[in-house]
Subunit: 116 residues, 2 copies
């Protein structure tokens, strides 16, 4: 069944294992039986994270600006732009002064069933 | 390797099998070796399409407004909102008067390797 997703429906939680003000809210995930996770992300000003990606991750910037680095590759994305981060890459994501709001899609799910 | 995707890089083509002014531009797909397709879509004013989904499709509205119907479910999405359309559903998507720009992610790829 089709579903409409909106940031108004998002319950943000601090990204697991992160100290910075980086929050994620899954709206579609392993609980819904499909193969992909869909959610919204929120980054405080100059906040970010560093992690090795266990899944393929598509991040679309809705507001603000984010820089992403992986090895020698550095990109900066603003509203309407997308950063594609393949599984296995180690990435550093950092918001600029104004923070950022994002939407994300991952394949497969980044949260395991039963995880908090 | 991470990649930044922007509508400025999109080469829009009319959606296969459609007569309306609905255009799609894949930026990441089967050519790149991963499991997902990422692209941008463009709908003219009041233009749309009807199809049975061969893949799971996530559509995020960047500009304008779109209504999506599937069976008894009808949703309308505007900027920053997402419509999740699972594989197997038959959907009717129609832009409102101002047309629409979207970003989409599909799993698996909606274009087969070798297709036009």
């Amino acid at each position: 069944m089709i579903r409409k997703l909106s940031m108004a429906d998002a319950s943000f939680e601090r990204s697991p294992g992160q100290d910075d003000d980086v929050f994620a809210a899954n709206l579609v995930d392993q609980r819904h039986g499909g193969p992909i996770t869909i959610g919204y992300g929120r980054y405080g000003p100059n906040q970010g994270l560093n992690e090795k990606l266990a899944v393929h991750d598509v991040m679309l910037v809705l507001e603000g600006r984010l820089s992403v680095s992986s090895g020698d590759v550095h990109v900066t994305a603003g509203p309407g732009e997308i950063v594609y981060m393949p599984k296995g890459d180690t990435v550093t994501i950092r918001a600029h002064d104004e923070g950022a709001l994002t939407a994300y899609v991952t394949y497969p799910h980044w949260q395991e069933p039963g995880a908090a």
